[in-house]
């Protein structure tokens, strides 16, 4: 089993900011937009180096999404940025009509997704955004796992033509992927090969899955861990290949159980051979205030929870 180590912890939103700084230097069409959350989105370097390509929208997210759609008509590549809550649910109709249905090359890049936003509580902890965005025809949905991967994904989505929802977060977590990785949209990343159970994780849950894999190995269980950074389009081939080998699976995401990664995988598998699947996700509940670690534990999104789920999945195999 491959061992993953890290020398530093960073937030994925800083990976986004670093990616934007690179894009500012390499792609003259990239425009950054923000709805009064410049510091939270780590856009300072981009704005300092490209003030003419930054649009401060104020607290007007609907207008920001509409303007982003308009900017693409002149060949610009706008990154509309805010918290995930305000960049998805609040502006769903704007995204649906002006961006997705209108086939516009808008990148909706959002931070503070999920429970790990922490103390601000449930009003800001969007847990339904993957479901909403995944339901939109033509929308690409990406949830990278660490700083380096978020930076690489940011650069990759600018090169891709079409609407993208890029989701990342606030907590500092281990940086364990390569700094010079090439991000391939829609291509699952094999974290660790195994034979007993497949663990498909996205976003912050990938590191939890890696730790779970080590804990399972100590108990003689050989888990296959796959990072599904792109929830749509889903890498169906990689998922099917893995479950065919292992015979059961766990999906893990910082999101509601309804409509997210686990649902996407279940929709895929049920059309062929169904396998026992356990869901690590928030179970039809809003979040609350607390530290990220407390919340992940209370809502069952830790490595320990993944270990228990993996054992349940294995036990359900015939």
């Amino acid at each position: 089993m491959k061992k993953y180590t890290f020398t530093e912890k960073k937030d994925t939103r800083s990976g986004f900011g670093a990616g934007m700084q690179v894009l500012g230097q390499t792609n003259p069409n990239v425009v950054a937009m923000c709805a009064d959350l410049v510091g939270s989105l780590k856009l300072d370097a981009f704005i300092k180096e490209n003030p003419e390509r930054f649009i401060q929208c104020g607290i007007s997210e609907a207008n920001m999404i509409g303007m982003a759609a308009g900017l693409t008509i002149g060949g610009k590549i706008p990154f509309a940025t805010t918290f995930a809550n305000f960049g998805s649910g609040r502006v769903y109709d704007q995204i649906r009509q002006s961006v997705a249905y209108s086939d516009k090359n808008v990148k909706i890049a959002v931070s503070h997704a999920g429970l790990t936003l922490g103390e601000d509580g449930a009003t800001h902890q969007i847990l339904e955004d993957l479901a909403m965005m995944r339901a939109l025809p033509g929308m690409t949905v990406i949830n990278p796992c660490d700083y380096n991967q978020t930076k690489a994904a940011t650069i990759a989505v600018a090169e891709y033509e079409g609407p993208v929802y890029l989701r990342f977060g606030r907590p500092v977590i281990p940086v364990f992927t390569d700094a010079d990785q090439k991000f391939e949209i829609g291509k699952a990343w094999m974290v660790n090969e195994g034979t007993d159970v497949s663990i498909f994780a996205t976003g912050h849950l990938v590191w939890e899955a890696i730790q779970a894999g080590e804990m399972l190995e100590a108990e003689g269980i050989n888990a296959e861990i796959i990072n599904i950074h792109t929830i749509k389009p889903l890498d169906e081939k990689a998922i099917l290949k893995s479950v065919k080998k292992t015979g059961c699976l766990v999906s893990a995401e910082e999101h509601q159980v309804a409509g997210g990664l686990g649902s996407a995988i279940a929709e895929l598998l049920i059309q062929g051979t169904p396998y026992p699947q356990e869901f690590i996700a928030v179970k039809d509940s809003f979040g609350e205030s607390g530290t990220p670690a407390q919340l992940m534990e209370k809502y069952g999104l830790t490595a320990n929870d993944i270990v228990a789920a993996a054992k349940r999945a294995i036990a359900r195999k015939k």
Binding site: A62, G66, M67, G70, L71, G74, K76
Partner: protein, 285 residues
């Protein structure tokens, strides 16, 4: 009749026949805004006149070097489709497919079916001004001098997003933008005054920092005079808002002075009665 009035008469016939043909759609606002769209597309706007495949105007979605028009109140799609077809973007015969299965002329405008002339989907209200501002900002970033025009309904002014956009544009010197508000005083459930009073829209736009002008949107002479003036008003640091007074159902006596024809199609007899009031000038499709 001037040439523009003559085109407008034909466009009004198209609108009625399209809506009658599928027994659905929105004739009222379409008839009211006909004069504006004709004046914009046949006189005011700088658009690419190069012809492409089939002899139709070649359409570039990017609109580089062109003036752009965005229809925010997408339900008046019949007037938009007729004007685009009559201007040469596609065959006028295609107007007969309006709202029918497999058509490019969807109930509300969309880029999704590839209809030339459409640059954004609209229908869910309140979004077009934001899109227009974005397109205007892109023109500035690209160093283009063209003008972006946007048309909204007055009922649409009840949408919150409109006011996010109204606040943004003057604060960011979006002065290559002209927003028309179709002030016909009607919406689906009745008069705008009764449903949710907009009060003094012009004063509101002015307070937000717009240069506000008014016009009779059903008087072609007044309209074209104003549009000429507008070309001198752009680029002066302020976006321009036009409070355009129109009559819903303009040109068809029994459709005027009421909100009842907002979204109702005429029957055979009503169509005949309506068409008798509008000369066929360019040939029906």
């Amino acid at each position: 009749m001037t040439e523009l009035q003559s085109i407008a008469s034909q466009v009004r016939r198209d609108i009625l026949r399209m809506v009658h043909g599928c027994q659905s759609g929105h004739p009222g606002g379409s008839l009211g805004c006909t004069d504006l769209l004709v004046a914009l597309y046949f006189q005011q706007m700088k658009i690419n006149n190069r012809k492409g495949k089939g002899g139709y105007l070649s359409f570039n979605l990017d609109g580089k070097g062109e003036d752009l028009f965005f229809l925010s109140n997408g339900h008046i799609s019949p007037v938009f489709y007729s004007v685009l077809a009559r201007r040469g973007y596609f065959d006028v015969k295609e107007l007969a497919t309006f709202r029918k299965i497999n058509t490019r002329l969807q109930g509300h405008p969309t880029t999704h079916e590839g209809l030339p002339g459409i640059r954004i989907a609209s229908g869910s209200l309140g979004q077009g001004l934001s899109v227009s501002i974005g397109a205007a900002l892109a023109k500035k970033l690209n160093g283009e001098k063209n003008i972006v025009y946007c048309l909204m309904g007055d009922g649409e002014q009840q949408e919150g997003q409109v006011w996010e956009a109204v606040q943004f544009a003057p604060n960011n010197n979006v002065d290559n933008l002209v927003a028309f508000v179709d002030v016909n005083g009607q919406q689906i459930d009745g008069s705008t005054n009764k449903v949710n009073n907009n009060r003094d829209l012009g004063a509101k736009y002015k307070a937000f920092g717009w240069r506000v002008v008014t016009v009779d949107g059903n008087n072609m002479d007044e309209l074209t005079t104003l549009l000429r003036k507008i070309k001198r008003l752009v680029g002066k640091g302020q976006p321009i808002a036009v409070m355009m007074k129109t009559e819903m159902g303009q040109g068809v006596d029994f459709m005027m002075h009421s909100h009842k024809w907002h979204g109702v199609a005429p029957n055979d007899a009503q169509l005949e009665q309506a068409l008798a009031q509008l000369p066929e000038t360019l040939g029906d499709y």
